[in-house]
């Protein structure tokens, strides 16, 4: 017998992985959480049927969300991660000794619980003493903060589910208010490739551009995500992501990465024409 898990990349495009075993299936108050062990991609986290991360390629996503802003901002001490209950973003952040505190705001506590059991490769650093976990709505948490963070990373799934409220103008405005004067916001932007996702890429970019003087987009390649071509938003009140990259300082930290390097950092901001056009339109 063969058992396959299918992630619908669009109405007309499927991405299927052969399953070894289902490790968890749990209905939380917010969503359906499934964790699979697969042949091609190792362990896979699935929320409401949608693929979130796989053991095989999650490092690309988490490294690109974390090291890009960390190589630009010279003195990050306090970080807010919105979403990210699998722990992957935190795992990358704790590599920096300069970071003093990390607030992780995850709306679904049970994602963290299950990740801690079944996804040790991402959840391994959630018990770091600098990490404080808050189980509540990201929107609610952020609007109470002012001048509190050097870096906010919005590590949330797609904009048509429980995280819908985190792809809105009010959320990015609240983030702007929660950041210090030289703060950076990194946002998971979805893929520009399929028409079905283009509107959300455009909306997120426009909402962020209204609030932040510096607002741009960078890309990477994540094989298990729709089209594999993935975008992140880089927004800041002060720093330019390429001009203010301090490669020397970052190299000195001696941080080990599998995807990110400072050469790639520069290149990631060079966008294909179709993406430029999408963001302009």
């Amino acid at each position: 017998m063969e058992l396959w898990y299918t992630d619908k990349h669009t109405e007309d495009v499927n991405f299927s992985i052969k399953v070894k075993k289902q490790l968890a299936s749990h209905r939380s108050e917010i969503q359906q959480i499934d964790i699979l062990d697969t042949y091609g991609f190792g362990r896979v986290l699935v929320l409401d049927g949608d693929l979130m991360i796989t053991e095989k390629d999650e490092y690309i996503y988490h490294e690109m969300m974390t090291h890009v802003p960390m190589a630009v901002h010279p003195h990050v001490e306090s970080v807010l991660v919105v979403g990210g209950g699998d722990g992957g973003t935190v795992r990358e952040l704790v590599k920096y000794p300069g970071i003093k505190e990390i607030d992780l705001v995850e709306s679904d506590k049970e994602v963290v619980t299950l990740a801690s059991i079944h996804l040790p490769f991402t959840a391994c650093k959630l018990r770091d003493p600098r990490v404080r976990m808050h189980f509540e709505e990201g929107l609610r948490f952020v609007r109470a903060k002012k001048d509190a963070y050097d870096l906010i990373i919005v590590d949330c799934p797609d904009p048509y589910g429980p995280a819908e409220g985190l792809f809105t103008r009010e959320f990015y405005g609240n983030c702007c208010n929660a950041l210090k004067d030289d703060g950076i916001l990194i946002n998971q932007h979805e893929s520009p490739f399929y028409a079905a996702h283009q509107t959300s890429v455009k909306n997120a970019h426009q909402h962020i551009a209204i609030e932040f003087p510096v607002s741009t987009v960078y890309q990477c390649h994540i094989p298990s995500y729709p089209s594999g071509h993935w975008l992140f938003g880089f927004a800041s009140l002060k720093y330019d992501p390429v001009r203010d990259l301090d490669a020397v300082r970052w190299e000195k930290l001696g941080i080990t990465t599998r995807y990110y390097n400072t050469e790639l950092h520069r290149g990631a901001f060079a966008l294909p024409n179709y993406v430029r056009e999408l963001l302009k339109s």
Binding site: E137, L139, R140, V142, R143, G165, T168, R169, G173, N174
Partner: protein
């Protein structure tokens, strides 16, 4: 027909059965299940089209109900604690008008608060009954009209012993209730009927933390807008009656103006909504109250805004407050409610019920999601951060005591002349002027135009309120009695 249980939905079941039985239709509607024009099923869905049928033997007739509609109405009456219930397909407007027409004739008086919905005054325009207005109380801080004071109602009854009925908003758009039980006993003692406009009070029937419902308070009739907070389709509504009114006469009144082609999607939605409310209403409105209380706390914590709640109760003109209402006073951040309403929609993609001069109102229900409530609160935080102004210069009163010079009917049908708005001072209005929503007239036919009224209209226009009523769509001119 033997009494059915509340589990039954006789009308919805019969409608579905005609679809399953594949009846060949040689009756209207001509779209024949949508096959006449494929664009309709593509747009609305095939199932929806196959349920859009006309009255027939198996589906009863709204104008003369003898089978499934009758049974469904009986179940609704039982669920709402009424002796009779009538399904309405012309909106709660038609239910309010039926209440007035069934109790007051031409030249007869009805006591009502001036902050009634336009549908009530429209009813007077049509049948020539005379309004005796009661000045509703006013909350000085919020600038909103409240309910009627018991002493004021008593006084009006003594002054007008010939009045036939008292109409009460239960509650107002803002969720404010009068002391309905005392008003009922005072009015009944004087031989007058009590009519409850429950356009915003359907939920009162299904949760004990909410103000008393019209039927429970002993009202003779109540217009319950099931589509607003009860979960049925837009435009469907229920008229409830106690046995103090003759149901057959009420039915005659309804058929004067009700469509003879009542829409079965609307009717069956009333049947389904009634069953859901009966079994799950308490849970649904408990959830709504929890959302509203949470949102009030969070919004008040933002500072600047005042999301008001049961603390505005004063024992009289605000006897009780509807906990499900989320009204927010915006004047202290220097923005008119209508400006906040526009910003929410245009900048944040959030549609709320209405914004008036000093407040915005959001309708909450069990259909809301936590995340959407958070969005609303966060967007209000952003609007305050980005748009806050000095409140000086904001117009601060909502209620204007009317000077009634003629009956609404006489003024509406009088020989009239059109004058520029600013030249209408001192003249008797021949038409309505109101912001919609909330649809409470600033000026009604028969009322004299005062400086306050002109100032109010100009301010509301300047702030971008959606003004309706006059023949002149731009509200630059107004018709006055010649």
């Amino acid at each position: 027909m033997s009494r059915l249980s509340q589990q039954a939905t006789p009308l919805a079941e019969a409608l579905n059965a005609q679809r399953i039985n594949r009846l060949a239709h040689f009756d209207v509607p001509g779209h024949k299940g949508g096959r006449m024009n494929p664009e309709l099923p593509d747009y609305f869905g095939k199932l929806c089209m196959s349920l859009d049928v006309n009255s027939m033997k198996s589906l009863d007739n709204l104008g003369h109900p003898v089978s499934v509609i009758k049974a469904a109405q009986e179940l609704a009456a039982e669920a709402f604690g009424a002796d009779n219930a009538f399904f309405m397909v012309n909106g709660t407007t038609s239910a309010v008008q039926t209440m007035i027409w069934a109790t007051c004739g031409r030249g007869e008086k009805i006591i009502l608060p001036r902050n009634v919905h336009r549908s009530a005054i429209n009813a007077l325009v049509v049948n020539g009954a005379l309004p005796v207005y009661i000045n509703p109380g006013r909350d000085a801080r919020l600038g909103i009209p409240l309910g009627m004071g018991v002493a004021d109602v008593q006084h009006a009854i003594e002054e007008n012993p010939d009045a036939k009925a008292v109409l009460v908003n239960n509650p107002t758009y803002y969720g404010v209730c009068s002391d309905l039980e005392t008003i009922v006993s005072v009015a009944h003692a004087a031989g007058m009927k009590v009519l409850a406009d429950e356009a915003h009070g359907t939920h009162f029937y299904f949760h004990d933390k909410l103000p008393v419902s019209g039927m429970a308070a002993g009202c003779d009739m109540a217009a319950a807008s099931l589509h607003k907070t009860g979960g049925s389709l837009t435009q469907s509504s229920i008229l409830l009656c106690n046995d103090s009114v003759n149901p057959d006469y009420v039915r005659q009144i309804i058929t004067l103006t009700q469509s003879t082609s009542a829409n079965y999607l609307l009717l069956s939605s009333l049947d389904l909504a009634r069953r859901h409310l009966y079994f799950h209403g308490r849970e649904a409105f408990g959830k709504t109250i929890a959302f509203a209380e949470y949102a009030r706390d969070e919004i008040n914590r933002l500072g600047g805004y005042y999301a008001f709640g049961p603390e505005i109760a004063n024992g009289d003109t605000c006897f009780a407050f509807d906990l499900t209402k989320l009204s927010v006073h915006t004047r202290d951040i220097g923005l008119a409610g209508i400006e906040v309403y526009d910003l929410l929609r245009d900048d944040y993609g959030i549609q709320i019920e209405f914004g008036d001069i000093g407040n915005v109102l959001a309708i909450l229900s069990a259909g809301d999601r936590r995340m959407d409530v958070e969005r609303l609160i966060s967007a209000l935080a952003e609007i305050k951060r980005l748009h806050r102004k000095d409140p000086v210069g904001l117009f601060d009163h909502e209620y204007i005591d009317p000077d009634v010079a003629m009956s609404p009917e006489a003024a509406f049908y009088a020989k009239k002349t059109t004058v520029p708005l600013r030249d209408s001072l001192g003249r008797i209005a021949g038409e309505f002027v109101m912001s919609y929503p909330p649809g409470i007239p600033i000026l009604a036919p028969g009322e004299r135009v005062t400086p306050d009224i002109l100032e109010h209209i100009e301010f509301a226009k300047a702030k971008g309120c959606f003004m309706t009523g006059p023949q002149d769509m731009n509200i630059d001119n107004i018709q006055v009695v010649a």
